[in-house]
Amino acid sequence: MTDIIIHCAVALLFPPLLLGVIGKTKAAFAGRVGAPYLQPYYDLIKLFRKGSVFSETTTWVFRAGPVITLSATLIAALLIPLGRHAAVISFSGDLILFAYLFGLSRFFTTIAALDTGSSFEGMGAAREVTFSCLAEPTLFFSLITLARMSRSLTLSNILTHPTPAIWLASGASMLLLVGALFITLLAENSRIPFDDPNTHLELTMIHEVMVLDHSGPAFGIILYGAALKLFVLGAVFVNIALPIATGNPLIDWAIFILAMLVLAVTIGTVESVMARLRLVRIPQLLVGATILSAFALMLVLR
């Protein structure tokens, strides 16, 4: 019971801090002080207190977009094990639900963007679906590889399966998986080198351009949903990359939180030392990640 409460509390309250840590890391690389760690929380509070402007040409789809996106991501957050503890909801085959919850949220984000009729948002939607088509196989190959290793179709088992022993036994597969998942993590969360979350240039945006017309609480929901998505995919990554379980629940939670913060610093570092890719190069990197995860699967199947 305690674990369920901690799970929900961490999943609900922790994600914006990741954005704060990424921002602070980037600022440090740029020689600036940067915004406070808690700035994303302040931003969310500010947005939730504002009013919303809805274009007259939009329909209910536009309003439903952010809500459905956030709900889907919240359910996904309940499906994954955090800090070596079983997930809150867990059943055989939940990995399919997990993958398609993201599919659902993406569908509603893009359809809400198309609902505005703006040429920018249409362009962003086209880019988003193109690139996510290429990112999705990686996630599936990774989950299938782990399912095969753990001989289970439950995320709780799959993601808590990796242990130091497994890493020693099939290190090559695990390394390939970690590499592929990190690339997917960056791509799915619109980070550099795929997308620049800080840019104001509509023509270069992928994800940001789709939410240009949202404002106030709706935009707050989108920002919070994005942070949550980063948290969920980050947690999947940390579960695989850091197979340590001490047996003491509280220490495990502490290790998990620490690992997530280190991951945020890593993402911030990648963003600081790299430029964005040209849009035409992005598919190449995504296909590369798919190939890495496919190799990982072949290595366990052999």
């Binding site: 740029a30 240039l201 023509l203 270069t204 790299m274 430029a275 040209r278």
Partner: protein, 506 residues
């Protein structure tokens, strides 16, 4: 050289009567022939006189360092266009059409430039109703139709804090077929207001013709006034002007290098350059108290002098800024992800650059050796040789590299000049200008060639004052650079040109 051309030097004037009036046909043939032989149109404008409208064209040939002026008279409100044969004339012809209601027959792209009423009341090249206000940006845009072709309109209100301009992209998926740029939102009527000048505020108006090129435009105006008055600027003032001009170049090039890095999402250089740009602006403030060089220049010299403490201060600041800037910019060249993004993006060939008559870093990046400081030296540049930095590929990378090389040369120049400032005064009193003269002044602002031409009436007042900002030549270059490119690369290409909206709109 055609007999109808009349030679003139940069920063000099000649009596209007010395410029022969030729018939329209030899006038146009002369322009076409000389452009074919490597000359270039620097300025081309209308001048209303008693008999109607005269057209004056200023041509330049970098290879021989020659400047020539030619003149014709128009009989009615129709005139043949040479835009088909000479691409660089197209924008000038549209400008003349808009300002004087002269219809250029067979112009391939006959659209308004800035969307304002003609200087001559009652005339309009497009027969727009006189009782309706002209709305900026309302015109027939070029359109592409077909499957999967879509149109993207950007601006005039942008997401960033930049000037207003409207961009129409005709795209096929992510690929741009055609970009049409429509400006005019910043039109303030500077040229119309200058007729009958100079007024006491004219210097200030010139300094804000393009707000980031205060010294470039300010000095061109000073040169016009000085040649009309027949006065010589003291050597100390020439050096101070040169330092101010190069500081302006450094501040803007630094800002551009940072902005290009920012556009590709490369944080370190973007952040550092933002600060270092401020350091250069502060150095300009040491000269005159204004970070943008406002109120530093005056016809006859400079308003402020530089004492030895200020000079030492500048030398120290320059050394610090040079160290920081070198560190920040070198990061760019050593990051493969940045290079991969800049190389082969927004490419212009040397031929396109020559046809369009590009100027400044955009031209030099295509391998065109074109720099007023070197070709038609003015002020302190007559005494010193500043090497011209060029590149070959004409892509964003080349434009970035040319900026960095120019910045390095400018820092060397400032350091050298600060160490050997001549003594003496920094200002002489100006005198009233000569009447019925035509004065030409070219300076190399950080964006490229700035051309001011003044024609005075009998009383010495301006009958016409023509300003050509480098952006006027270069906006079509940006449109051409986007052909066949990814639409997502537009902001980067735009930043690598970094053209002025208000300098174009005047």
């Amino acid at each position: 050289m055609t007999a109808s051309l009349c030679s003139i030097y940069n920063g000099s004037s000649l009596p209007l009567a010395d410029i022969p009036v030729v018939e329209p046909t030899p006038f146009l043939q002369g322009i076409i022939d000389t452009v074919e032989r490597g000359w270039r149109i620097v300025s081309y404008f209308g001048l209303p006189d008693q008999s109607g409208l005269a057209l004056i064209c200023l041509l330049a040939n970098e290879a021989d360092g020659q400047l020539s002026v030619t003149r014709t008279a128009t009989a009615d409100d129709h005139f043949p266009s040479i835009a088909y044969l000479c691409t660089q004339a197209q924008m000038f012809e549209r400008e003349i059409a808009e300002q004087y209601g002269l219809v250029f027959d067979n112009h391939p792209w006959f659209k308004p430039v800035r969307f304002h009423r003609a200087f001559l009341p009652g005339r309009d090249a497009w027969n727009r109703p006189a009782d309706q206000a002209i709305r900026v940006g309302v015109m027939d845009f070029f359109q592409v139709t077909g499957d999967e072709v879509h149109e993207v309109a950007v601006g005039p209100v942008h997401a960033g804090i930049i000037e207003p301009g409207h961009f129409r992209f005709q795209c096929h998926g992510e690929e741009v077929f055609h970009l049409e740029i429509s400006l005019g939102y910043q039109h303030r009527g500077i040229e119309a207001a200058l007729i009958g000048g100079p007024q006491p505020r004219t210097q200030q108006v010139m300094e804000t013709a393009a707000g980031d090129t205060t010294i470039g435009h300010g000095q061109a105006y000073c040169m016009v006034m000085e040649t009309l008055a027949g006065i010589k600027v003291p050597p100390r003032a020439e050096v101070l002007r040169g330092i101010a001009l190069e500081l302006e170049r450094l501040a803007n090039h630094t800002g551009d290098l940072g902005a290009i890095a920012g556009d590709v999402g490369y944080l370190p250089t973007a952040s550092f350059c933002g600060r270092i740009r401020g350091d250069f602006l502060n150095m300009t403030a040491v000269l005159c108290g204004s970070r943008f060089g406002r109120g530093f220049l005056t016809p006859g010299g400079t308003i402020f002098d530089l004492n030895s403490e200020q000079r030492d201060d500048l030398l120290k600041r320059l050394a610090d800024a040079r160290r920081d800037l070198t560190d920040a910019v070198e990061l760019l060249w050593s990051s493969p992800s940045v290079m991969g993004r800049l190389e082969d993006t927004g490419r212009l060939t040397r031929e396109q650059g020559l046809d369009l008559g590009l100027v400044g870093p955009a031209a030099r990046a295509c391998g065109i050796k074109r720099d007023v400081r070197n070709d038609y030296p003015f002020g302190i540049y007559r005494m010193t040789n500043l090497p011209v930095a060029t590149a070959f590929h004409g892509d964003v990378y080349a434009r970035t590299m040319v900026r960095w090389q120019e910045a390095q040369k400018s820092m060397d120049f400032i350091e050298e000049q600060l160490r050997q400032i001549p003594g003496g005064g920094h200002r002489v009193t100006s005198a009233p200008g000569k009447g019925l003269h035509l004065a030409v002044a070219l300076t190399e602002g950080w964006r490229g060639e700035i051309c001011h031409v003044a024609v005075t009436g009998e009383s010495g007042r301006f009958a016409r004052y023509k300003i050509v900002d480098p952006s006027f030549h270069n906006w079509p270059g940006l449109a051409m650079a986007l052909r066949g490119q990814q639409i997502s690369d537009f902001p980067l290409c735009n930043k690598s040109f970094n053209l002025s909206y208000c300098g174009f709109d005047l």
